[in-house]
């Protein structure tokens, strides 16, 4: 189990946060994802997931990843 903390640019409405949650959840190996609109942070719990897939999913729904941290 690994935890990722992403900083995301371009979110400005609750539906943005919900869309990112929905898109990332679909990536294989993602156990949990929580997006905070207010702090621009996205917390993801993964197990054997391809991080590139997650990045792609977020880009696909139209948001920019400013930073990725591993915990």
């Amino acid at each position: 189990m690994k935890k990722l903390k992403l900083t995301i640019e371009g979110m400005h409405c609750a539906s943005c946060a919900a869309n990112i949650e929905r898109a990332v959840k679909k990536v294989k190996g993602v156990k949990d994802v929580v997006v905070s609109l207010m702090t621009h942070k996205c917390f993801i719990e993964i197990e054997n997931a391809d991080e590139e897939e997650i990045k792609k999913a977020i880009k696909k729904v139209g948001y920019k990843i400013a930073d990725i941290e591993e915990e």
């Binding site: 371009g10 609750a14 539906s15 919900a18 869309n19 207010m38 702090t39 729904v61």
Partner: protein, 660 residues
Amino acid sequence: MRGMSAEEHRHMSEHHHDIPIEEKEMNSWRKKMFLSWILVIPIAVLMLSDRLFGIKIFEENIMRIIILILAFPVIFIFGFRTIKQGINGLFTFYFNMDSLIALGTVIAYATGFLSIIGIVQDYSGVSAMIMAFFTTGKYVESIARGKAGQEIRKLLHLGAKKARILRGNQEIEVNISEVRIGDIIAVRPGEKIPTDGIVIKGESAVDESMISGESLPVDKKKGDTVIGATINQDGILYIKATKIGKDTFLSHIIKLVEEAQGTKVPIQKLADKITSIFVPAIIIVSVLTFFFWFYFTKDASRAIGIAISVLVIACPCALGLATPTALMVGSGIGAKNGILIRKGEAIQTMKEVRTIIFDKTGTITKGKPEVTDIISEIDEKDFLKIAGSLEQVSEHPISKAIVNEAIKKKIKLIGVKNFKVERGRGIKGNVKGKNVLIGNRKLMNNNKINYRKYENKIIKLEDEGKTAIIVSANRKVLGIIGVADDLKPDSVEAIRRLHQNRYRTVMITGDNEKTARAIALKAGIKEVIANVLPEDKEKKVIELQRRGMVAFVGDGINDAPALKQANVGIAMGTGTDIAIESGDIVLVKGNLTGVVQAINLSKATFRKIKQNLFWAFFYNIIAIPLALLGTLNPVVAEIAMATSSVTVVGNALLLRNKKI
């Protein structure tokens, strides 16, 4: 102090490229807003002079083309991100709130071309105005949102950037990231303590208000722990770094607060559900509206105008912002006062809580017991030598009190064999060939040791709120030690305030009934559950939960299951990580006033969330029908939309005026 500002200045110039996202977005909206208005004002002049005064500055079709040209950059360049995001959402079925604005403005703009061939009225000027008001609303909203996150952002920038570490006899200044555990750091008066550590030389008062909310400075001397980011006030301190980077107290606080923003408040669920189907629903409604009006009025222009109004007014922005903004402001105020809200749910649950259960030791009391009485039939020094020698192996606070007493009396302690802890009872072991047992009545009873001779004295100590520790060697009682743990200075007042607000308070402890009652009486608590073994605290919480929701306030590893079991777990932050992990709310300062404040803050924040949701729902319930009925001009619809989001964020900001 001058050194500080120079250091901070250097930091500023080093990191000027590292602008926070909030600021970046605010700047970008501001730019878009100004540029939009530069083009929209001439459009407005052209349109209004025609409509209001009938003055045609240009011939009709030329005017249409001029407006189309002026409006183009407003929508497709300054509004590029919004349009792209929105259209992207439409095609991928990840609808977002931009989808509505994008559809509304693009359709409105397209009418400009259609009007040239005479099909419908020209709304292209209107589309630019909508976008201008949209960016204006977003700009104001981004300012307000920046304010909402101010307290939390302050935490992020609280840490020191540099440290002066000792290498041999030399002090060298290094970046904070280069500090290693074990480094000795010199901290001059007025400087920030760079990282968590322990004082090895020097004495000073330290301002910890930024971490704990405690306004009075705390005295530090050799052996005391200091927290990074607090400010050394009047003496030079030499500290040894014990924690760095992600492991520091400040980093933990930041992590807790940040993660809390991602947790959900249950009341938000309905709003989330509505938001998720809102956008596609509104698009359908808007299409239906167009056909309905077109069918009944045969006026395509009017039908398009109304459909656009419906699209732009129906942004569920306010609904989506209602909860997170209030939660953010609430937890920001909390963080400033040393109250860390870890789970959004706690805010809502707190409202239902009627019973508050307090752990005794370290929660109501200081958790630093001291020996007050020594009653023994043998020489006091010999007695303390036996007791202290065995107790020095144990970690229990009472053991420490006894060991301290022995040290104070300059008694040399000796080694022990076969040491064993009997949880909730006491300890045993072999001292100088004697089988020594130290503990409470239960321990003596279990081992069939007769202590009747001391019973009266034990009762007397207990009536005074002291814990009586029985010391025996080779099955014979040598004497008893009275240990008292004073109340924290604010406990009485905090309990009084809770009673004033009609909370039921219960104290839970492993102490015997008499001692527990005496302490509870001092604190003003009427209900006491005594003789509870550490592992049974959770069960007692379950029993109390049968009569309604409870909050449990405690610290220490023993309390973790009880904190988890309670509807709201309030952990006293004394640095015990496990307890902090299991608390829904963590009190950095760890006193009972914090409990009262946490309750007030939770209630105030939840009230704000409810207010916000009410206004957001109210807005949509009123505004959408008005738009459907064709009573709102599309520009007015957009102004209303922008106002609703700004109002919600602004209302959340009002929470900052709340005294907790």
